[in-house]
């Protein structure tokens, strides 16, 4: 097996610059800024500047890092970086405007597994900190993960079934985008409309946005698993949160609005990023502005009845092939 130096350099470029670390951080922080600004405007406020999450990130880098005496130091310090790396890898797998750095036969499954790692890293970091608030937050985060995993899997199943027709299930994001380029975006397929709505509700829970942020409830349990973090690790967690926004909205864009193709790659990418912003505004800012935080059991019930029900309706409609 010959390894070309150019290939290595290209993959490094992918991982560090374009869909990887640098681009996803910058765009994710921008999305987080847009989110805060739009929420503020919906609440009759002026709101922070769009650069605010960037300022927060750099400020946290300049703060002292305190490690609690009864924390498991290695896990406590490594957890945020594990989450960040898995998110950057995730960004490589998700096609942005038809551009995908890594592809494969069944990358949806990879995406599904990788999506749990950031949440798990928060759980590991929280439980390593040895704080009782973090303990409560960890158990709540686990409930939230269980709540959104089921509808997410159902949505992905419905989409792949719709794409593959009568043949074998297509678990490839590239296949899904190619199908949409040929047959039009899946959002305009009425059978998949309930699944799209379910996906829009899964995104805020996955990201930890407002009505579903049970794990990081700052007024009740002092931001839950993040309670003991300070300085650079906290900055990395905030960055992961921002990248997660980008990844989840890009996943939505790839699954349901992948059919927009102008022929020029950069224009496709710009359109995909615009879609990401709009999805952020609809499913995170708008929901944040109009709702208050739900209780843990309410989140669980809501996701396993309403959201899963919506996804299931789509799946059945697709499966019986109307």
């Amino acid at each position: 097996m010959s390894i070309d130096i150019n290939t290595i350099l290209m993959y490094l470029l992918y991982a560090l610059v374009f869909p990887g670390l640098l681009f996803s951080s910058v765009f994710g922080l921008w999305l987080a800024g847009v989110d805060r600004k739009v929420v503020a405007r919906m609440q009759k406020r002026i709101g922070p500047p769009i650069m605010q999450p960037t300022y927060d990130f750099f400020k946290l880098l300049g703060k002292e890092t305190i490690i609690p005496a009864n924390a498991a130091t290695t896990t406590f310090m490594l957890a945020p970086y594990v989450g960040l790396v898995s998110l950057v890898v995730l960004a490589l797998f998700i096609p942005v405007g038809g551009f995908q750095a890594f592809g494969g036969m069944a990358d949806i499954v990879v995406v599904l597994y990788l999506l749990t790692i950031p949440s798990l890293s928060i759980i590991f970091g929280g439980s390593a900190s040895g704080n009782p608030f973090a303990g409560v937050g960890v158990s709540r985060s686990m409930v939230a993960i269980m709540a959104y995993e089921l509808p997410l899997i159902l949505v992905l199943l419905a989409v792949s079934k719709a794409v593959s027709g009568n043949g074998m299930l297509t678990f490839s994001l590239e296949g899904i985008t190619t199908y949409q380029k040929l047959n039009g975006s899946l959002l305009f397929d009425w059978r998949l409309l309930p699944a799209a709505v379910a996906m829009l509700l899964v995104i805020p829970c996955e990201v930890g946005s407002h009505p579903f942020d049970v794990g990081e409830a700052e007024t009740e349990i002092c931001e839950g698993p993040l309670v003991e973090y300070s300085g650079a690790p906290l900055a990395v967690f905030k960055l992961s949160h921002a990248i997660k926004m980008f990844v989840m909205t890009a996943l939505f864009a790839a699954l349901f609005l992948g059919g927009i193709a102008t022929g020029m790659l950069w224009l496709d990418i710009v359109i995909a990023l615009l879609i990401c912003t709009v999805v952020t505004i609809i499913c995170m800012s708008f929901l944040h502005a109009i709702t208050a935080r739900l209780k843990v059991e309410q989140v669980f019930k809501f996701f396993w009845t309403v959201v899963s029900g919506l996804a299931l309706v789509s799946l059945i409609l697709v499966w019986i092939g109307i």
């Binding site: 503020a40 609440q43 922070p48 960037t54 300022y55 400020k59 007024t219 309670v227 003991e228 300085g231």
Partner: protein, 146 residues
């Protein structure tokens, strides 16, 4: 250059942590009023955090009571450096009308150094914004001195 970016960010995103050291609730309400749509301190980057580990500015209200003294000192010690301590209202500065009470062991500067004090009983939200802006400037100064 990187140092300069961090310094500028310090002044632009100060996060607050609020300690009630036996306050009568007047100043607490005014502090919350600063975050409402009418005054909206978030446009200057201020944010109320839930954990002292995330905070940059510690806002103390109330004369330090015997019960709260231990907690105030411990909470302030948990805030990572650089940090700024702001006293809101007259009570933490001088115990105000509670001076001489058997349950009051203040004022706060017996225990920690106060960086910025906002006078008033209770201060107007505009005065609180002034004070917090000054505290953010002090934060930047402290970071530069480090």
């Amino acid at each position: 250059m990187f140092k300069k970016i961090i310094e500028n960010s310090m002044a632009k995103s100060p996060w607050l942590f609020h300690i009630n050291a036996g306050s009568c609730n007047g100043c607490d309400i005014e502090l919350v009023a600063v975050l409402t749509p009418k005054y909206d301190a978030e446009r200057l980057g201020f944010k109320l955090t839930g954990s002292p580990r995330h905070a940059d500015i510690v806002v103390v209200t109330g004369p330090v009571t015997a019960q709260s003294k231990e907690r105030v000192i411990r909470t302030i010690a948990q805030v990572p450096d650089p940090k700024v301590i702001v006293t809101l209202g007259s009570c933490p500065r001088s115990c105000n009308v509670f001076k001489g009470s058997y349950s009051v062991v203040g004022p706060l500067d017996n225990y920690v150094d106060i960086d910025v004090s906002i006078a008033g009983c209770a201060p107007k939200p505009e005065a609180i914004i002034d004070g917090l802006a000054l505290a953010a400037a002090v934060l930047k100064e402290k970071r530069r001195a480090k």
